[in-house]
């Protein structure tokens, strides 16, 4: 579905004509005060229930949605370059949500994948997009990507991301990034060819912190293809936009492609506690689909204390956000799961099990990940944890929230005390045979043991 020009121009025009607001006022007054008022209005203060990390209360999810809708209307999006607010009326936001697709496809031929709006506890299989853009060394880009693509549970390809380009340091916002956009496409295609996954849909462009990577790699000869792939528009927190994001939006329009709108909200950050972060995520999601005409995406919570979202409060907020979106819209919502532990650790797999199960039962259409070791370390991503997370995600489709909550309560005690000091684990070359693309015995054994544990806990893995 091509982007609508009138809506695009409306956004650009409002970025230059909306009310002026300084970022400091936005962060310290507009956002926290509006969210706090919505929490009070809908009686949502102190509703976070860490003992039940997967919400069971539909009415609560609906109240969160209404609060998020109010905030989206009240606040709008701040354009950082013009320091003007792009505001939308309630009707415009509703029309934006109504016009978002309830179903779309990425990929071609045998690799075509259907993204469909999912209800709560929906048996329709969710889509696993892997991996998140974790930096890897240039010479390992193809082996890691090929290894991940050999995992058939992976439906679409996003990362990893480049750290250098032909040996030179890749610098965000520089001409290097423009070149890297195309280079990433080239490397992806080689990995895809080696793995026999021709036609797989891609998220463009993992190695593109600014618009230059997208301009260099998307919609150009030999690059990412508008008819098969989707463009990542990641918007700054909370509810901000920038020329960088709007450039990507315009490039997508020029090429006739579709967009992914993503963001996050920090628990403990501008939005406040888990309840505020949940409201912020819902509001931001409505704005992403309205302003960017997104086909996929959403805003999801992180916990500032450990920079991840696999702890109880973040899991609760995640469940509320996706349940609210599932029950009150028909969008194809996507989340990111941010694990904190590294490869070859049990903790990484426990975090994945809880988070992926939660998303599967809470109505997420798709998930992008894993974000192994919080994405902090170069080469800390392997195919095995990618397989595990995807297996759990798909296996939990159709599971009840009550059962998932019970399983989460069994698994969380296995790792939650270590969230602030998660084990780094081992890098790809340390726990994989780089030539054969097979895990070491140690990493395979850890996988087998945790798989057995989560099956015993109730996750129906094969």
């Amino acid at each position: 579905m091509a982007l609508d020009r009138e809506r695009l121009m409306q956004v650009l025009d409002r970025a230059h004509s909306g009310p002026i607001c300084e970022p400091f006022k936005w962060d310290t007054e507009v956002i926290p005060q509006t969210i706090a008022a919505a929490l009070r209005k809908y009686d949502l203060m102190k509703t976070c229930d860490p003992d039940n990390p997967i919400n069971q209360d539909d009415a609560l999810a609906d109240r969160f949605f209404q609060a998020g809708f109010d905030v989206a209307v009240e606040v709008g999006m701040l354009c950082l370059d013009t320091q003007r607010v792009i505001k939308f009326s309630r009707e415009e936001i509703q029309r934006g949500m109504d016009s978002a697709p309830a179903e779309f496809t990425l990929g071609e031929g045998k690799e075509k994948v259907v993204f469909r709006h999912r209800g709560l506890e929906d048996p329709f299989p969710p889509v696993w997009v892997a991996p998140l853009s974790i930096a890897v060394e240039e010479h390992l880009f193809i082996p890691i990507t090929e290894g991940i693509l050999r995992e058939r549970v992976v439906d679409c390809l996003e990362g990893p991301s480049l750290q250098t380009i032909w040996g030179s340091k890749l610098r965000a916002g520089s001409p290097y990034e423009l070149l890297a956009g195309k280079l990433q496409a080239d490397l992806n295609y080689e990995a895809i060819r080696r793995a026999g996954r021709e036609g797989i849909g891609m998220y463009a462009v993992g190695t593109a912190p600014t618009h230059y990577g997208v301009l260099g790699g998307y919609g150009i000869p030999g690059g990412y293809k508008p008819e098969r792939d989707i463009v990542l528009l990641l918007t700054p927190v909370e509810m901000k936009t920038s020329y960088e994001v709007l450039h990507k939006l315009c490039q997508t329009y020029n090429c006739g492609g579709i967009t992914y709108g993503g963001s996050w909200s920090m628990i403990g950050g501008y939005a406040g506690g888990p309840e505020g972060a949940a409201v912020s995520c819902i509001a931001c999601t409505l704005l992403l689909y309205t302003a960017y005409q997104a086909s996929n995406g959403a805003s999801f919570p992180y916990d500032m204390k450990y920079m991840g979202n696999c702890g109880r409060k973040a899991q609760w907020a995640l469940s509320v956000v996706f349940q609210a979106l599932s029950r009150n819209t028909h969008i194809c919502a996507n989340s990111v799961l941010n694990q904190t532990a590294g490869p070859a650790t049990k903790m990484l797999l426990y975090e994945s099990a809880v988070g992926m199960m939660n998303l599967a039962v809470s109505g997420a259409t798709s998930c992008t990940g894993p974000r192994t070791a919080g994405g902090k370390y170069t080469n800390f991503i392997t195919p095995l944890e990618t397989r595990f997370a995807g297996e759990v995600f798909k296996a939990c489709a159709g599971m009840s929230r009550a059962k998932a909550n019970d399983i989460a309560n069994r698994l969380l005690p296995l790792y939650e005390a270590n969230l602030g000091m998660a084990p780094k684990g081992k890098s790809f070359p340390e726990c994989y045979d780089v030539e054969r693309l097979q895990p070491t015995e140690e990493w395979q054994r850890i996988y087998d043991e945790v798989k057995e544990e989560v099956i015993k806990a109730g996750i129906p893995l094969k």
Binding site: D27, A172, G173, M266
Partner: protein
């Protein structure tokens, strides 16, 4: 008004809900009361540290912390001209902070800047997407002691190194401590680029600045300091 009352008012306007204008008014009243400037700064610092402790305990969130940090900055702006030369040492030092080129993430940088202000440092916040030369010029113009570089993306990490490279090229490396932080910034990376310090989180970054200022060692330090 007796001097103890005015100091108590200063503590209250920083700790409790008030505008920055009120804080400035009270700070001016402090000056007019003739209270010892050291006592005034001590009172303000005590109050702002209490706010920082509340944030670290999870009792308040980032907006409240940032507002308190802004109030502290304004308070110090009023008090600072009245610090006598003999009072030198009452300030923590001056820090130029920003998110490096190609990176528009500000939440971590804002948090670190605020925690530094909470610890009594004078902050010059350059914002986001700041080119290497701008850091150096700003630090020189401000008479800064420390340059603090934030980065959330691996593709903006090279710019942290470039700031240090520029300082060396301009023969200014011995004028400023350079500390680095952010999601993908590891202690190993900090050491590899010759940074003077690295910290895991905002509170640790503020402690790091105190350690560097108290060290008496001229930059660059031989071994990257990690609190």
């Amino acid at each position: 008004m007796v001097q103890s009352d005015v100091l108590e008012r200063l503590r209250k306007v920083i700790l409790e809900e008030s505008s920055v204008e009120e804080v400035e008014d009270v700070a001016r009243a402090v000056i007019e009361s003739g209270v010892d400037i050291n006592d005034a700064i001590h009172a303000a610092t005590e109050a702002i540290r209490a706010v920082g402790d509340c944030f670290e305990a999870g009792d308040i969130y980032l907006p409240e912390l940032m507002i308190a940090g802004r109030k502290m900055e304004r308070c110090m702006a009023v008090l600072r001209p009245h610090i006598k030369a003999s009072d030198s040492g009452v300030q923590g030092g001056r820090i130029v902070i920003g998110t490096v080129s190609g990176d528009i993430h500000d939440i971590g940088k804002n948090l670190v800047a605020t925690m530094m202000a909470v610890r009594g440092f004078d902050i010059v916040d350059l914002g986001v997407n700041v080119p290497p030369l701008k850091f150096v010029h700003a630090a020189k113009d401000a008479g800064a002691d420390i340059i603090a570089l934030s980065s959330l993306m691996t593709t903006s990490l090279p710019y942290q190194q470039e700031v240090i490279d520029v300082l060396k090229e301009l023969n200014m490396r011995d004028r400023f401590y350079v500390i680095v932080g952010g999601g993908p910034v590891t202690p190993e990376f900090a050491r590899s680029i010759g940074a003077d310090g690295w910290a895991e989180n905002a509170a640790a970054a503020a402690r790091l600045c105190e350690m560097l200022m108290a060290s008496g060692i001229k930059p660059p330090v031989a071994e990257t300091v990690i609190p």
